[in-house]
């Protein structure tokens, strides 16, 4: 199977802070990768480089064979014009920890905005798509509600539907349940599990070890800007090879 995501030697600094220190990563089509790690380990930054929300300082990010944000000519990378970057992003769905729904638009408008204005698809095609997606996340009756009137779990499900409305090749989740009350975590994880079973390629940054065990094809453990260890959940979670992984799991399990 082809690599949907391929990272090679990715470095990123914020001023003096070296957040990513040479990350290599391969995710095949249809795979679910869960990234674990202590806060500050660079896992969110890594995820954000995979749709060019953060530019990398060194290294390359490829999604479905396409170099992200740059055009290669010889040994040089030329920054792409913004229009091109935006087009690339429409193939990658991103779900934020804090949902980031547009509060002044209804749920339906939130879902339809990107397909209409970023992809230029006709309304007649996008409207039924929005309906289908809302049914899929169990919120068909909330189409005309404003986000503020929904619970956190419902808002995150709308945010997932909004990301799906672009019909992306790849879905990225940045701690999708960290901002939720404990009793609302389950409904969001159920939606993500359902997508995983449907064969969507995704990368999920999370602290939910149980979710990782159940859904992930591979689990990566990150610390201090590097991927320390990577493997199938049974191996990484139950028999980690590295001391740092063991220490981390010992604290969260």
């Amino acid at each position: 199977m082809s690599a949907m995501v391929r990272l090679r030697g990715v470095h990123k600094s914020f001023g003096a802070l070296h957040v990513l220190r040479g990350v290599d990563l391969d995710v095949r089509q249809g795979q679910v990768l869960v990234i674990l790690g202590p806060s500050g380990s660079g896992k969110s930054t890594l995820l954000r480089t995979i749709n060019h929300l953060e530019k990398v300082d060194r290294g390359s990010v490829r999604v479905d064979g396409q170099l992200l944000g740059y055009r290669q000519a010889g040994t040089r990378l030329y920054e792409l014009p913004e229009r091109e970057v935006l087009r690339q992003r429409t193939q990658i769905g991103f779900v934020f920890q804090s949902f980031n729904l547009f509060p002044h638009l209804t749920v339906r408008q939130n879902l339809m905005e990107a397909p209409l204005s970023a992809q230029g698809r006709p309304r007649a095609e996008v409207a039924p798509l929005a309906e289908r997606l809302l049914v899929r996340v169990g919120l068909a009756d909330k189409a005309d509600a404003y986000p503020r009137t929904l619970s956190g779990g419902q808002q995150q499900r709308v945010a997932i539907a909004r990301a799906l409305a672009l019909e992306p090749k790849l879905l990225l989740f940045d701690e999708p349940t960290s901002a939720l009350d404990p009793e609302l975590v389950g409904e969001v994880l159920d939606v993500i599990k359902d997508l995983a079973r449907g064969g969507t390629t995704m990368i999920v940054v999370t602290h939910e070890i149980g979710f990782a065990r159940e859904v992930a094809d591979i689990v990566a453990f990150m610390d201090a800007g590097r991927i320390v260890e990577l493997g199938p959940p049974a191996q990484l979670l139950d028999a980690p090879a590295h001391e740092r992984t063991r220490t981390f799991l010992g604290k969260v399990l």
């Binding site: 935006l86 690339q88 980031n100 729904l101 992809q119």
Partner: protein, 288 residues
């Protein structure tokens, strides 16, 4: 030991529900009565003193020359606000640009136009012809396509509208910038992650949310400008304030005509306040 007692009390409560008696506020009543007396005195002073010349006020309130001057005041306000906020929005976007030159120029503009008194700026534009007798349109530092006499191009009305708009733009820039900064950073990120084009991001996602912060302050500014147009009287433009001065200099009814102007300013600002209420409600949708 205490448990049986508690049970007894609650049984009593169930039998006869307790009644709530609200506290009395005698001082509040006294203050209200005092204010009422003062109001009555003010009303009496306004109505019974013939020096206010209410019939004269009625006579001039809708006089054609006064109505025309009200329209000119409205025109100046509209030009000042529309041009001021268009330029102000542009300045706010420049100020937030990563390009240092753009943001410095915007900063300098705000610094300059906020620092010089409006009346001075108006006189400056009015007398522009003293500095540049002719203005031309063409290639910068190159050949000119059109050439105008400054006096023909910038008459008193243009000078007044220009002066008000340029002055207003400095304040509008800060108001719009504040509004843009008040929008949560996550909104920008979400819009970018969804691949929305830059103009769409600004006009569909960011500005409508910024309007919640912009409208109340902008409402203040607009109402300020309605009254601010009275400064234009220095250019002998027949707006409301200038016009009533012309009339009372002729007939000597000073108080009555100042009252006419005051009533019109009240009407205009009241109308604008009502509009502001509905605009705020529009941009507040989706927020409980």
């Amino acid at each position: 030991m205490t448990l049986p007692e508690v049970q007894e009390v609650s049984r009593q409560d169930a039998e006869r529900p307790l009644e709530v008696v609200t506290a009395r506020h005698p001082l509040r009543w006294l203050a209200a009565a005092g204010v009422l007396v003062v109001l009555a005195m003010v009303a009496s002073a306004l109505i019974t003193n013939p020096a206010w010349e209410w019939p004269i006020v009625g006579q001039y309130l809708f006089a054609p020359s006064v109505v025309r001057s009200v329209l000119l005041t409205l025109e100046l306000t509209a030009l000042g606000i529309v041009l001021g906020f268009v330029l102000g929005t542009l300045l706010a976007l420049m100020r937030l640009s990563p390009n240092r030159l753009l943001s410095s120029v915007a900063w300098a503009y705000v610094w300059l136009f906020r620092s010089v008194p409006l009346i001075l700026q108006l006189l400056f534009w009015y007398n522009l012809a003293l500095l540049y007798p002719r203005l031309s349109v063409g290639v910068p530092f190159g050949p000119a396509f059109f050439d105008f006499g400054t006096m023909d191009l910038i008459g008193p009305l243009t000078a007044a509208a220009l002066g008000l708009a340029l002055h207003q733009a400095a304040y509008a820039a800060e108001i719009v910038r504040g509004g843009l900064l008040s929008v949560d950073h996550g909104q920008r990120e979400a819009a970018a992650a969804l691949g929305l084009p830059p103009a769409r991001r600004l006009f569909r996602i960011i500005l409508p949310q910024a309007m919640r912060t912009i409208v109340p302050t902008a409402g203040n500014e607009i109402i300020g400008l309605v009254k601010g147009t009275s400064v234009v009287y220095v250019m002998a433009l027949p707006e409301l304030f200038y016009q009533v001065q012309v009339i009372y200099n002729r007939n000597g009814r000073v108080m009555a005509l100042l009252l006419v102007a005051a009533i019109w300013y009240l009407i205009l600002t009241t109308a604008l306040s009502i509009v502001q209420y509905y605009v705020e409600r529009h941009y507040g949708r989706g927020r409980g």
